[in-house]
Amino acid sequence: MPYHTVIYAVKNHIAGITLNRPKTGNAVNLKMAQELQEVSRLINGDNDIYVVTLTGAGDAFCSGGDKEEVEPCHPAAAIAAIDRPVIAAINGDALGEGLEIALACDIRVAATKARFGLPQLTGGRIPADGGTQRLPRIIGKGKASELLMTAETINAEEALEIGLVSRVVPPESLAEESRKLAETIAAKGPIALRYLKEAINKGMDMTLEQGLRLEADLYFLLHTTSDRTEGIKSYLEKRKPDYKGK
């Protein structure tokens, strides 16, 4: 195992990242942030990876920043840089930097026991890894202000209600559910998936008109892939597509 703070494994086009400092509730230290950055680079350079799942070892997803760490860490930035769909399988508490990491993912599935919060304010700090920007973009300004300004923790049910996570499942079925979701996604056209993520994430920071142009440009760029022909042919021939990522 080349990594000390994360577990990284690839199987059937699905890359699995596990935050692995269970004794500390998977608290982020500089080492973990660096290793996530390495993994992120590795994934972006590997066309055989179609989708990524991210979870925590032990009871917590990620309990926040390591109190002993003095260096600034940006683990969420490393995850946000991944250009494939990333599923957060939130097995337990996602607090502070832990929630910021989850916010950098595309789809969030949580175990019923998970709790969520950005408590940085109680320590006289503010989130510094995207929390103040990504949270309002996901759940809206009103709810985000409430969560950030009260620094309170919410449970999985409340997180589902406000759209912070899109699904909640019992802890024992989380791994299975997120694997199934990853397989569903991995069966789609891999290049189309990447372009879709780009179109949505970049497009949301543009005017609608600019976003529509980005979408059209990416759409026509896909005309040059053999996957597009395969996708349409397989549909017309009523069979499963066999995508090559080309």
Binding site: I107, I138, A192, L196, I200, E209, E215, A216, I232, P241
Partner: protein, 243 residues
């Protein structure tokens, strides 16, 4: 106006009705439909008699089940396809209509069908409606604005969930995510759409158009720019009333 084959265009008492009309093909969107919609939307844009628009699908099964894939492999080179897209900018024209557009959705609302609905301002759905975007499963991405309009309506996270996993939504789920404004029994769908259109029609057309502009254009601006736009539009209306 030339005769339409795959849509029906009607105008009655200030309300324009566009009906997607390929019921045997579940109203699948094809090149012919693009051209006819382009023409009908252009007529609406320039017609001050039209105060509200209702978009619906013919037949029992679908509003629109998506694009007609049989045409997809006949496309010219990407360069020419892109050129054609912007020469006949159907979605740009759709979004530039100043009158409010109400979508009355039933049955399958898939792919281009959802995207057309997202170009509308208010979406009513019957309780049998089903929503989905199958594009990535076909190795493509949406091309009628869906990757941009969907996250603007239901948010980035829900849009990514729907698009990446390809999961379909039932009408109640669509209501919960605010993809549609209201759900109605099938028989009440069109009467309710007409009632809503009548209500909108009862207001000053200048005020209605100003509100649509303030909300839709304002979303693309910073808050201070949006407030400035609102003020400007408001002043224009006050000036109108004084005349």
């Amino acid at each position: 106006m030339s005769a339409f084959e795959v849509i029906i265009y009607e105008k009655q008492d200030g309300i324009a009705y566009i009906t997607l009309n390929r019921p045997k093909a579940l109203n699948a969107y094809n090149i012919r439909m693009r051209d006819e919609l382009y023409e009908a939307l252009g007529a609406i844009k320039d017609d001050p008699d039209v105060r509200v628009v209702i978009l619906k699908g013919a037949g029992e099964k679908a509003f629109c089940a998506g694009a007609d894939l049989t045409e997809f492999l006949t496309a010219p080179s990407p360069v020419f396809a892109r050129q054609a897209r912007f020469e006949r900018d159907i979605w740009g024209r759709f979004l530039s209509i100043e009158q409010p557009v109400i979508a009355a959705l039933h049955g399958y609302v898939l792919g281009s069908g959802i995207e057309m609905a997202l170009c509308c301002d208010i979406r009513l759905a019957s309780d049998d409606a089903q929503f989905g975007l199958p594009e990535p499963g076909l190795g493509i991405i949406p091309a009628a604005g869906g990757s941009q309009t969907l996250p603007r309506v239901i948010g980035r996270a829900a849009a990514l969930d729907m698009l990446l996993s390809g999961r379909w939504l039932t009408a109640p789920e669509a209501l919960k995510l605010k993809l549609v404004n209201r759900i109605l029994p099938r028989a009440a769908l069109y009467p309710e759409a007409i009632k809503l259109a009548e209500k909108i029609k009862s207001y000053s057309p200048a005020a209605v158009s100003a509100i649509k502009q303030a909300v839709t254009r304002g979303l693309d601006m910073t808050l201070s720019e949006g407030l400035e736009l609102e003020k400007r539009l408001g002043r224009g209306l006050t000036a109108d009333t004084k005349l």
